[in-house]
């Protein structure tokens, strides 16, 4: 795609990728051609006719842009009266039987039909016959709710189930004005990527049972993030909002396009994993089960650290690269051992050959990169003579297979720096709540060695400290992200040439892992 061609659009010359279809080619230089059915992951279908453009070179005068490759010298006209008329006509046709229920539609604010109507049409309805009624609130399974009346029959959802998941649950049945998207009776959506059809739908026909009526989309703040649901580390957009008189919370995750990792889609488990960020969170520091102030809790930890002869730190493979490095340096400072053993995060057989991995940890390759031991033997050995265990959001002790480790923990003072309630964390001698991944900035390395950076999305009303700050407050030498990177670039060879500020929205593949 590196080859470029020069073509003219409305008389202005642009340089675009040769061979790409006109929608993609012109989008890359900031020119939008309206379309419903085309999607780069699903290919050109040419059914919606919204992307028709004029080409002044003797070919049939009007062609669909999605099926027309950019070529040298091409003269593309997007703004002629003829094209504008076609766009108005198509919108009028799409709106004949559309319910125009935007005030109660989840898609309002991010609806292609709504946007195009405002941009190209603005016409009044000329229809004086009864509208065709179709079915609403159809449960398609997989958390997808369908409204046949809002549908523009672009077929993206149908093509998704046939081309991407190859499960083919959806079809367009009937014909003409009765045509509608349907499932075969008794054969609902049954794949782990089904909710992508909600995101693919250009209008409000496919809605997510999880998100329906929860929030108007124009209130949502959209922050780029990385899914921590498994080792794939799909790029996501975190949509969050603080309602008046309430705390900030996440309303949904959406797939964020990343050609290095997930393309245009994410799995349903990952998409719904935002619930974990909202729920069951640790908020108050505890010493022996009694709520204390953060200062009191830190003082208690410092006392224990001062007295311990053989401290052991257990880190989580979900911690960010910077946090893991800070933890490593913290251990050096305090003469502590560090283990990254976390077999419980691996769900054997759960992965597939698409996006879902067996390993549910987001950043395991960073443990190896930093040389943090992940073996069971090392942890067992260290536990054998440890007199203080500080767990950084890792619980390798509760899993049934590791019952012997939990037995060894008895009698050892335990400090849990943790994001969520769980039996082990709640029963630690000291509990320090820490921020979860939507509340801090950091980097993770996925199972393919792609390093991604993400920013802080959610700021709670009463923020709990980020692990890096907490470790610094407890005497760790790494003061902030900048210090972490300065240290890592010297100490960790594959990161030597990495400029953390130039990682980019798609991340970068690390060499020499």
């Amino acid at each position: 795609m590196s080859e470029k061609v020069t073509l003219s659009v409305n008389g202005h010359e642009v340089r675009v990728a040769a061979g790409a279809n006109l929608i993609d080619a012109l989008e890359a230089v900031g020119i939008d051609i309206p379309h419903f059915c085309y999607h780069p992951a699903l290919g050109a279908d040419g059914n919606c006719r919204m992307c028709l453009v004029e080409i002044e070179d003797g070919r049939p005068p009007i062609v669909p842009a999605c099926k027309t490759p950019a070529a040298e010298g091409m003269k593309v006209v997007l703004e002629s009266e003829k094209i504008k008329k076609i766009q108005r006509d198509i919108l009028e046709m799409e709106l004949i039987n559309h319910p125009v229920d935007c005030p109660v539609c989840d898609q309002a604010g991010e609806c292609t039909l709504q946007d195009y109507y405002m941009k190209f049409d603005l016409g009044d309805s000329r229809m004086d016959v009864a509208q065709v009624k179709k079915d609403k609130r159809l449960d398609f399974g997989g958390g997808v709710v369908h409204d046949q009346e809002r549908c523009v029959l672009c077929g993206r959802c149908v093509r998704f189930t046939r081309q991407i998941t190859k499960t083919g649950e959806l079809g367009i049945v009937n014909r003409a004005d009765q045509a509608r998207v349907a499932i075969f009776p008794g054969k609902p959506l049954n794949n782990r990527y089904a909710l992508n059809v909600v995101e693919l739908c250009p209008v409000g026909a496919m809605t997510s049972r999880d998100f329906r009526f929860k929030q108007r989309v124009w209130f949502l703040k959209k922050t780029p993030g990385v899914c921590h649901g498994c080792a794939t580390g799909c790029s996501i957009t975190i949509d969050h909002h603080r309602e008046k008189y309430k705390d900030a919370r996440i309303y949904r995750y959406r797939a964020r396009h990343n050609p290095l990792i997930n393309g245009y889609f994410i799995c349903d488990d990952g998409r719904l994993s935002y619930h974990l960020e909202n729920e069951n969170r640790l908020e108050t520091p505890l010493v022996k089960g009694v709520p204390v102030t953060p200062t009191e809790a830190l003082d208690a930890v410092r006392t224990h650290l001062g007295q311990a002869k053989y401290p052991l730190v257990v880190v989580s493979p979900d911690c960010s690269l910077e946090q893991l490095y800070a933890a490593q340096m913290f251990c050096l400072e305090h003469g502590a051992k560090v283990s990254g053993y976390s077999a419980a995060a691996i769900v054997a057989g759960d992965g597939d050959d698409y996006l879902i991995k067996d390993d549910k940890a987001a950043n395991r390759p960073s443990l190896n990169l930093l040389g943090i031991d992940t073996s069971r033997e090392y942890l067992r050995e260290a536990l054998g003579h440890a007199d203080l265990v500080i767990t950084l959001n890792n619980d390798p002790f509760t899993d049934g297979a590791d019952a012997d480790l939990s037995e060894m923990m008895k009698g050892i003072t335990t400090i849990a720096c943790a994001t969520h309630h769980c039996e082990f964390f709640d029963n630690a001698d000291i509990v320090l709540p820490i921020a979860s991944y939507s509340e801090y900035a950091g980097s993770v390395i996925n199972s393919d060695g792609v390093l991604q950076r993400f920013g802080r999305a959610v700021v709670k009303n009463r923020p709990v400290p980020e692990l890096l700050e907490l470790l610094h407050a407890l005497g760790g030498p790494v003061a902030d992200m900048g210090a972490a990177w300065a240290g890592m670039r010297t100490a960790v060879a594959p990161l030597g040439a990495v400029d953390p500020d130039k990682i980019g929205e798609h991340g970068m593949r690390l060499e020499g892992l």
Partner: protein, 172 residues
Amino acid sequence: MSDRSQLLDAGRPFAFDETREAEFTRLEPRYPERDSLIMPALWLVQEQQGWISREAMEYVAERTGAYHAQVFELATFYTMYHLRPPGKHHICICRTLSCYLREKQLLVDWLAANLDLVPGAVTEDGRFSLEEVECLGHCGSAPVVQVDGVFYEDMDEEKLGALIEDLRSEAI
């Protein structure tokens, strides 16, 4: 055209009989794209059972290896496939442009008034069923009615009445 997507259950599983099985086996190698087998398979079902039940669609999906939704699409798109047991005489009234402009609605209304028959339904005595269909290709002599595969052109209510009277006079 009416909504054809509410499928009817036969209440029993479907399988090709010996004749249709032999025909299906003969057809199979002709369709390297197995999706294309759906339509001939649906014809075989209709030939055998008279109509296409939900169970039969599932059977066709299994036999052709197609998605259930693909069979569903084709069976509901083409009005030649009966998704209900049809009447003894199956009446198709074209609803596409020429016939629409030449007032096919008068014919539909006539059937509703005189036989209590609406598109997609069967008369109580089981004699007639009615389907509104897309273009039958006789636009020059619209409006067109097709009864049991036979075309009746330049129709009006009077001609339709006479035709129905003829068919009605047959012994059941």
